[in-house]
């Protein structure tokens, strides 16, 4: 008998617009010790299936059918009976580690209550088991961490605490709902390794809910593909990836860019003359530390001396993990944040020296597309009004109907039907809103577009479409792009050259192919090796480069010298950039052995 037997599981929500069936009767089994992947795009109902089993549906949600765990139907079991199984035999971890832990209870208290409730353990014994598990999920300095509050831990560490909490009673099923989606790619790699190890050592079955085919390829034995609340395909990982039966599955796999694709889509070398020259730009923010009675102000060096150039029609990818300063750098280039030092020279004019009026004239050619499509549009304007706003500023002479014609033409160009012109952002999907954002940026045919994580919030299939659109627009209008992303596979798809940032400084800067084929800096190598590849065969046989320690905060002294431990005695020393090969710059670093040995 399988560990889990779910039959005809349905989830219905009562909404203002009548009942909505989020899950339309799914059936599946999970065998003891296996990892089942439940894959689908947002809104496919993949999370709600498991939420129903855990009794976590929203108040307006109702579940029917059955979810038998070890013979007992969790849906019909009385609450106190189900409460003995939930958290002990079946446990769950969630997507957003920043909000999933209770803010006013220490790590130790939150771990301890699981042991107290399910095993009746308290005091020294509970503490011993908690510490033991914190060690096992590789939290360094567990004895100190156990007394800390969640806000004192990093995102990756909080997810480790969540996993430790879920594992305390040695569950037989661990449900992981997008466990690594909110994490940086190197942290994701470590969390996935940890889960795989637990599955192996403890024999815990895992139900992994994710949208990321790469994660599935790395982790799962069997896969269920879900769409619109129903399962469309089921099979072993090898089968699904090698020979998907359904078009939808095929599309999901193909839409995901592969970092190991032999030769990315051809990027015509349409590189004209240099239009943008960024020299030694620094952006420092004064941060008030709460120390002593009056606090203390220190400078957070978000961007600390970055230089690069950009040619007409070229796409420069800027990659790095959270907090590396990539978004700040983009805003400094556009003068949305005034740089603390350095020069941004646009077509020969230094933008940092311009007054407001002169800068405004330049803005016509300098546009930006943001990460969150909904947040970047004024909720009280129709999309036509949003798209037309830059026209009002830069072509005030246009009549109303001329402006309207231009807006409609641009809407058509980015693939939005004209019938949508009077709609509001909240009525559109994320992908459509991002097209609106792109249309607004393109309406004056600028010479430079900055894409700040422009596809990160979108589902993979939509992401692929938006990337295609950007490439088409670039071919048609010839604008240059600064493409900022944390996703190395996506950046590879679209960029000519790539800049790798680490804590506000450049660690490597080269042509796309050079960066991916022969990365020189250990940080670049670690980043690339952490990206999961949507192919189980390749993914599971890869050797991964793991760097010791966590990504430090830019305020930590010596953080910049993580890859240069030999100079650590020399406080304030910053690694220098040198040209290793023509056009290939790399920051000073020690050998890999030295770094791994620290």
């Amino acid at each position: 008998m399988a560990l889990v037997e779910a039959r005809d599981l349905k989830v219905t929500f009562q909404t203002g617009d009548g009942p909505v069936e989020a899950v339309k009767g799914v059936s599946f089994d999970i065998a003891a010790g296996e990892c089942l992947g439940i894959v689908g795009e947002s809104g496919s109902g993949k999370s709600q299936t498991m939420m129903a089993a855990m009794g976590l549906l929203a108040r307006n949600g109702r579940a029917s059918g059955s979810f038998r765990f070890d013979g007992q139907d969790l849906l019909t079991l009385p609450a106190h009976e189900a409460g003995k199984i939930r958290g002990a035999d079946v446990s769950m971890i969630f997507q957003d580690p920043l909000t999933a832990l209770t803010p006013h209870l220490t790590v130790g208290q939150q771990l301890g209550e699981v042991l107290a409730h399910h095993k009746g353990l308290k005091g020294a014994e509970a503490r011993r088991i908690s510490l033991d598990w914190l060690d096992r999920v590789r939290i360094s300095d567990a004895a100190r961490r156990i007394a800390q509050y969640p806000h004192e831990l990093s995102g990756g560490m909080r997810q480790r605490v969540m996993i430790a909490m879920a594992m305390l009673c040695s569950p037989r099923l661990l449900i992981a709902d997008e466990p690594t989606t909110a994490l940086d790619v190197t942290v994701q790699a470590e969390i996935l390794d940890l889960m795989a190890a637990l599955q192996r050592e403890e024999g815990t079955a895992i139900a992994l809910i994710t949208h990321d085919m790469g994660v599935v390829a790395r982790m799962c034995d069997r896969i269920q593909v879900m769409r619109h609340g129903a399962y469309v395909e089921e099979g072993t990982a090898a089968q699904i990836f090698a020979a998907p039966r359904e078009d939808y599955t095929r599309k999901l796999i193909d839409a995901m860019p592969r970092i190991d694709a032999p030769e990315g889509p051809a990027r015509t070398d349409a590189r004209g003359q240099q239009i943008l020259d960024v020299r030694d730009v620094k952006v420092h923010f004064p941060i008030k530390l709460q120390q002593g009675i009056f606090g203390r102000t220190v400078d957070l060096k978000a961007v600390d001396g970055v230089s690069f150039d950009l040619r007409a029609g070229e796409t420069l990818g800027i990659v790095g993990e959270s907090g590396c300063g990539k978004s700040t750098l983009a805003r400094a280039v556009l003068q949305l944040i005034p740089p603390t030092a350095g020069a941004v020279s646009w077509l020969g004019t230094d933008l940092t020296s311009l007054d407001a009026g002169a800068l405004k004239k330049q803005r016509r050619d300098l546009q930006i597309v943001f990460q969150d499509p909904l947040a970047s549009l004024d909720p009280r304007m129709t999309i036509a009004q949003s798209i037309g706003e830059p026209l009002k500023t830069f072509q005030p002479g246009l009549t109303r109907s001329e402006r309207r014609a231009k807006v409609l033409a641009m809407m058509d160009r980015v693939g939005l039907p004209a019938s949508m012109q009077n709609r509001y952002p909240h009525e559109l999907s994320g992908g459509q809103n991002q097209r609106v954002g792109i249309a607004r940026a393109m309406i004056n045919t600028p010479k430079l577009i900055v894409c700040d994580e422009a596809v990160s919030a979108l589902d993979v299939s939509i992401q692929a479409q938006v990337l295609d659109l950007l490439r088409e627009l670039q071919a048609e209008f010839g604008m240059a792009m600064l493409f900022i992303s944390h996703d190395l596979a996506v950046v590879r798809e679209i960029s000519h050259r790539i800049l790798v940032l680490y804590l506000g400084r450049v660690v490597e800067f080269a042509d796309r192919n050079r960066i991916y084929e022969s990365p020189l800096h250990p940080y670049t190598q670690a980043l690339i090796s952490a990206v999961p590849i949507p192919d189980p065969g390749v993914e599971r046989s890869r050797t991964r480069l793991r760097l010791p320690g966590e990504l430090p905060s830019p305020l930590t002294p010596g953080a910049q010298l993580r890859f240069l431990p030999s100079r650590r005695a020399d406080t304030g020393y910053l690694p220098r950039l040198s040209e290793a090969a023509p056009g290939h710059y790399v920051a000073e670093h020690d050998s890999l052995e030295t770094i791994l040995a620290q």
């Binding site: 409460g83 939930r86 446990s91 769950m92 909000t99 999933a100 209550e113 806000h151 709460q290």
Partner: protein, 307 residues
């Protein structure tokens, strides 16, 4: 934590000084002196009286003297109207009374209000919830100067259970009606704030985590949801405190409890500036101290504020 308290204190002290100065200037900006409004006095007599109260000196000196007296000796000077009384005397007579029923009302409002709010949130969209919301709206709308006579009619006249007024050293039968009349509307506000705050917290991700651990509903609510729920409630306690001070005026008028509220109204009607000034500063100081306490309570609820 200690640093945090010290920092709040450092903000509170200048606030208090500014308050004293502003009140003083406001009071002296009023047209005429307290003695001009009475029947016309001979100029010589008026000058003598003004000299006696120090009103003949330049305003800045008057203010400085006042400030020094208040800060160093906690001395608010003599009353302008009751020639034989000092402001300090009035405060020491009336304040303990106000403090007693005020504190009690405050405790009752918080305990009953929070319990009602939590109950309504946990039974959202049931009759209990609707009843709680409905009554709390009505209670908020019912002014305490209506509440007080209604209570007297019911408990004193019809039922004869409670004395209709007086203080009697704060014996409990004399406390019941003042406390009910003063606390009801704040109880209602607290209940409504608690309810909506609890509903929001119950939707938070960490509550989902706590439920996923299999903890019983009781533990989830008390251990995980209660502290964050209380955060907006604690923020409201400052304004509630100010409201109760205002409300004490009504209590003192209806129940003849002898608290400082009545003195305040009388001083306002008699243009007894020194009493008004002294009591306003006392109330302001109490508010500032109370806000300090709520700030500290807030820090206790939210570990992110403790450094």
């Amino acid at each position: 934590m200690l640093n945090y308290i010290l920092r709040r204190l450092l903000i509170a002290i200048p606030t208090l000084l500014v308050l004293i100065v502003v009140c003083f200037l406001l009071m002296h900006a009023a047209p005429g002196s307290p003695f001009t409004s009475e029947r016309a006095l001979p100029p010589q007599v008026l000058a003598n009286i003004e000299a006696r109260y120090g009103l003949d000196k330049p305003l800045v000196f008057q203010m400085w003297d006042y400030l020094v007296n208040v800060v160093t000796r906690f001395d608010f000077g003599p009353s302008f109207v009751y020639r034989d009384r000092t402001v300090n005397g009035i405060i020491s007579q009336g304040f303990p009374v106000t403090l007693t029923y005020g504190t009690l009302s405050f405790i009752v409002a918080v305990i009953v209000g929070v319990s009602l709010g939590v109950a309504a949130a946990l039974r959202q969209n049931t009759w209990l919830d609707y009843l709680a919301v409905g009554t709390s709206f009505s209670a908020q709308a019912l002014p305490n100067f209506v509440m007080a006579p209604i209570l007297v009619i019911i408990f004193t006249w019809k039922l004869g259970w409670l004395p209709g007024g007086g203080w009697n050293g704060g014996a409990w039968p004399y406390l019941v009606m003042p406390v009910i009349a003063l606390s009801t509307s704040f109880m209602a506000s607290i209940a409504r704030i608690t309810r909506s705050s609890m509903l929001e917290v119950l939707n938070a991700n960490f509550i989902r985590t706590a439920r996923a651990k299999g903890l019983p509903a009781r533990t989830v609510v008390w251990r995980h949801a209660m502290k964050p729920t209380m955060m907006p409630v604690v923020s409201y306690l400052g304004p509630a405190f100010v409201g109760m001070i205002t409300g004490s005026v009504v209590i003192d008028m209806y129940f003849s409890t002898g608290g400082i509220g009545l003195f305040y109204v009388n001083s306002a009607l008699n243009r007894d500036y020194s009493v008004m000034l002294g009591l306003t500063i006392l109330y302001g100081a109490l508010t500032i101290v109370f806000n300090l306490i709520t700030d500290i309570a807030y820090a206790w609820l939210d570990p992110k504020i403790r450094y």
